[in-house]
Symmetry: C2
Subunit: 324 residues, 2 copies
């Protein structure tokens, strides 16, 4: 039995989406327990509405408050023990849960989880946020960092490679291939940090050398490593691509129709909800941060992502890589 | 009368595409002269085939050799005066032409042009390569740097903003809006160089603050400034997007058909050939570097881009910005 602590009050559609997602998750997986952290009265009502009140694998942990998105993240955040996010992280830290899932603000969640769970020994930078990109109906590329560390030293890029490798394994990728994002294939291409990181990475298991922007989605690598500034710019550019194509197509009715039909169909393949959330890698427990817009399907899949990471011993594998 | 020196031997489809492009250019524009730099015999034959041998606004400048793509760019490159690229830059430098256009290797052309033409006073980094991105049927976003300078100091990012602003004017954008690429809108977002550059840019004409990855194509800014590492990654990612969508669509015949039809139609809007080439900004003469795959249409448009930049006094305007 694995236990996931869910910040039931985090996310735009919480607590309805979180409770419904949790209910579906426990009904689907018989060896999974979810601890819903949030307002007892509200959650209890919603559990009843979803027909799972009294279910022995869904438990409410009372935490009546919530962390606002614009909360300043500092040490004092830990003292807000009545906030759902903090309580959920806390019960994960003390072993009452194996993993924490939140659909709340990414920066706040990442910062609180880092402060409270601590980094795995050997990590020198901040934990990285990885994004899972669907490159086909079946295959994914894991990109990290997505924006947690905007200024990276070469050693931090090397550590991202280890974090990404360990995470890729838990998603079912056998022998993950790690690429370092650069401006050319040759080891001498790239900015100063990337050129140095390349040297550090030579000989690392799975390292295939430099990859470029167009390789992110073509399957050249399973894990693409870059600093958080570049990663963030790339991910946001990719997010803007469908709206851009639609706006270009809009000028002509036939183009608009073709675009509508195509994106409606392809959209299912590329649906972020399938991945459920982004792992925060490098902390001492499994932590999955979902999209703020997550509905119950995304919430359920975020819980499954956490469950899979625990089952495949993400933290243990990562720690071993860092102690080698 | 404006004169463009064309490296007639540069590019995958040269000299056929370059001569044909030049012929179309002079037949279209009555106040334009093209100096075709390359092998006299070959070019003469091709001029005849295009029906413009003896045309008084198309002149051959003999340079029998060509620079190979893998040429090491150092000071000795200037000594290869019989290579078409070097000769074309040389006659631009000494005033026999107002601008140089090459469809040859970007890095080699940029380096040779920088060495031979010199930077405008006040430029402290390398000249930037700007890329023109079509964000709709009528509007463009200018992104710089595209990869010339992968490690940028804040002052260099500030200079990119000035270069982009001056270039945007020559493309017909009135009061260009300049955005600094970052990971959030607030001035405090970004890596160290970007945060510092933001401070330097406050008060600069046209500066609208930070923009993000999704803003590149949504019209938030006319000029997007970033370091060459990020710019290169972003442009290559964008290049990979159509192939990616096609590969996703391929798995299903209806998706594949929709994608084929849509991209065939939209492709015309997004055709790189319309823009002809990327300007090298910050050198003392107009220099346009075209795509290596350019055909005669792209070659013609690269010549027109150079002509427009000369007509609108790109170098004069840029120099004035830097001396303010």
């Amino acid at each position: 039995m694995r236990t996931v602590a869910l910040d039931a009050m985090g996310g735009d559609k919480a607590p309805e989406a979180t409770v419904m997602g949790a209910a579906e998750a426990v009904l689907t997986k018989p060896d999974l327990m979810v601890k819903l952290v949030g307002d007892q009265a509200v959650l209890s009502l919603l559990l009843a509405r979803n027909g799972v009140r009294g279910h022995k694998r869904i438990v409410i942990v009372h935490a009546p408050n919530r962390i606002e998105d614009d909360t300043k993240v500092d040490l004092s955040i830990r003292l807000r023990t009545d906030a759902s996010l903090i309580k959920a992280i806390d019960i994960t830290r003390n072993g009452e849960a194996d993993a924490i899932v939140s659909l709340g603000n990414t920066a706040v969640t990442a910062a609180a989880a880092t402060l409270m769970l601590g980094r795995i020994p050997g990590m020198t930078g901040r934990p990285a946020i990885a994004t899972i990109l669907p490159r086909s109906r079946k295959r994914r590329t894991i990109l990290l960092d997505s924006g947690a560390m905007v200024d990276c030293k070469p050693e931090q890029l090397r550590q991202f490679a280890l974090l990404g490798w360990a995470y890729a394994l838990t998603t079912g990728i056998v022998e993950p291939r790690i690429g370092l994002l650069s401006v050319g294939e040759e080891p001498t291409k790239g900015n100063a940090a990337v050129q140095e990181a390349h040297k550090l990475l030579v000989g690392t298991r799975g390292f295939i050398g430099n990859v470029q922007g167009h390789d992110i989605m073509n399957g050249e690598a399973d894990v693409v490593v870059c600093d958080g500034f570049t990663g963030n710019a790339i991910l946001k550019e990719a997010e803007g691509f469908f709206p851009y194509l639609k706006s270009v197509a809009k000028a002509n009715w036939l183009d608009a129709l073709l675009a509508f039909l195509l994106f409606r169909r392809i959209g299912k393949v590329l649906d972020y909800r399938v991945y459920g959330g982004c792992p925060l890698l490098g902390v001492q427990k499994v932590c999955i941060i979902g999209h703020g817009k997550s509905d119950h399907v995304a919430a359920k899949n975020a819980i499954f992502a956490a469950d899979r990471a625990v089952e495949n011993d993400l933290v243990g594998n990562t720690s071993r890589l860092f102690s080698e």
